[in-house]
Symmetry: C2
């Protein structure tokens, strides 16, 4: 890790301008890492632009400097394009950015090494890598950097609950708290900003919940009518599937959400050994071993049967 | 800290038997600390009994050695009584335990220093102190110790979300993960064992939710009929108030729960500056600044008015 950060340092110090890009549909890791890195690079004299094609979701607008993020890349030429948390360059969205060199900082195992320098490490969050860049550059981690990087870590680890939580994750988090990140305040900002409509939707999802196969599978249906009734917005669906997953003995949780009439978006979460990516793929979708999704058209009973007929034989 | 652990070491090494006591109505911190400490002391040759007057709740029965915890203290004389996580000796329940010396290991600011040795530090969890005892004794932290202490830390910090989460908390957690504690598995064990009835109850609580005073106060009512309908048990109420608290802009969350006909148990949670202990006290209850409770008798409308008339003027 030290060598590659040395290379990055050399290239950065011989550059004047940089555009740092987060990925489309941005999450806390890509945004926090981008903001943290921008502050660090400005401190060593770089002229930095932060670019997120899809802007900054409300949840993360409390972060310092998030209002400086642009959603249109300037047409000027940059010395550096730095992509953070993107496994492929296409993940940053519009990629006609004019830059002499590309630095690729990521933690996804399927990263395509698209940069002139590729700093790819399988850590919990890109924030861990940005932390080490700050150390190497000798930039003091202040409260602004600490908050941005701490938010990155908690969003990508489910606040230290996912299996990507490593000893190094705790080490870095401790240093960030030491530098001014406040765990209570930041967890509050990220997790305790639920809307009334999200609560009403959760209530409906929990009421419609069914458990089958010795309680190893739990599923809920959110109909279009429910969405209309509670006036739900996009953010309101976040977290419902995790509730289903938290049920005792559940190995796979499934959420059916009627996006349009007779068209269902289906999310899967596995906490056991079932590979839900396989099931989503068979239905034309994709995802990871423990979290996947697909879209299936048809009447609700047909859609449910199709999914359960594929899923239930996988449960031991 | 080092001096006092030195004193503990001296006393332990000149002793043969010990009873380690957790507090009544035990939580993960007192149980995990007790189990972790018992393993450590057995390793240095002590004959140890673990005592919890109220036994071990189901949530924590997965911990190694939890089946060795007794809920009746033997009448024999012990060289040492070690109380963990108890601010006063009365917190261990039956305290006619016959012991030559008492060691008091706790992190509560109101600890009464009841021991012959008092190891009281305002850390996130007693587990942090037990960790340092293991280091001082030169006992290698294995997976069993690491799991017990990690569970202590996550239960007392709300999985690193409460304001008692310190840099040292992350440092110790990282070392425990390094020694074999699995964050994903342990968070699952502690937080992802919800019952179907708890979900149905949560759904009803969320549906009954009202927000007042510019969404700064959210409250829900759980009637006796709802409890009967979903066949709810004691554990099923845990966490409902935290959901209310997670609503955007909420400063105080209140849960009214009909325990008997026209008798309501009321819980308060504050995430802003309102001191809810003051309000609970005015109604004959008690608690902390950010978490308190009381019992009020009367018809629902009367009870609600009584509570809201006290609470709403406190909201700025």
């Amino acid at each position: 890790m030290k060598n590659i950060i040395g290379e990055i340092k050399k290239l950065v110090l011989s550059s004047k301008t940089a555009i740092i890009a987060s990925h489309i549909d941005p999450d806390g890791d890509t945004l926090g890492s981008m903001i943290g890195l921008a502050i660090i690079l400005k401190r060593v004299g770089l002229d930095c632009v932060m670019y997120s094609q899809d802007g900054v979701p409300n949840t993360y607008k409390f972060l310092s400097h998030s209002d400086e993020v642009v959603n249109k890349a300037p047409k000027t030429e940059f010395d550096l394009l730095i992509a953070v948390d993107s496994s492929d360059i296409s993940r940053i969205g519009e990629h006609k950015i004019n830059a002499k060199k590309i630095i690729n900082i990521d933690h996804h195992p399927d990263n395509t090494n698209f940069g002139d320098i590729n700093f790819v490490e399988l850590l919990s969050a890109v924030a861990e890598q940005i932390y080490h860049i700050a150390i190497e550059f000798g930039v003091k981690i202040d409260e602004e950097i600490a908050e941005a990087l701490y938010v990155s870590i908690i969003t990508d680890t489910g606040n230290f609950k996912y299996s990507n939580t490593l000893p190094s994750t705790f080490y870095v988090a401790g240093e960030l708290v030491n530098a001014g990140a406040n765990p209570f305040k930041l967890a509050n900002q990220v997790y305790e900003n639920q809307s009334v409509s999200s609560f009403k939707l959760l209530a409906k999802a929990l009421e419609s919940m069914e458990v089958v196969k010795n309680s190893k599978v739990a599923y809920s249906v959110i109909t279009h009518q429910m969405i209309v009734d509670v006036q739900a917005r996009g953010d309101d669906f976040v977290g419902i599937i995790d509730h289903l997953r938290s049920l005792k003995n559940v190995e796979v949780a499934v959420l059916f959400r009627e996006e349009e009439r007779e068209k269902y978006k289906i999310n899967f979460r596995s906490k056991g050994s079932v590979n839900v990516s396989k099931i989503a793929k068979e239905l034309g979708g994709g995802g990871h071993v423990k979290a996947s999704g697909c879209i299936v058209s048809g009447r609700l009973e047909e859609v449910k049967n199709k999914v359960l007929n594929l899923l239930l034989p996988e449960i031991k």
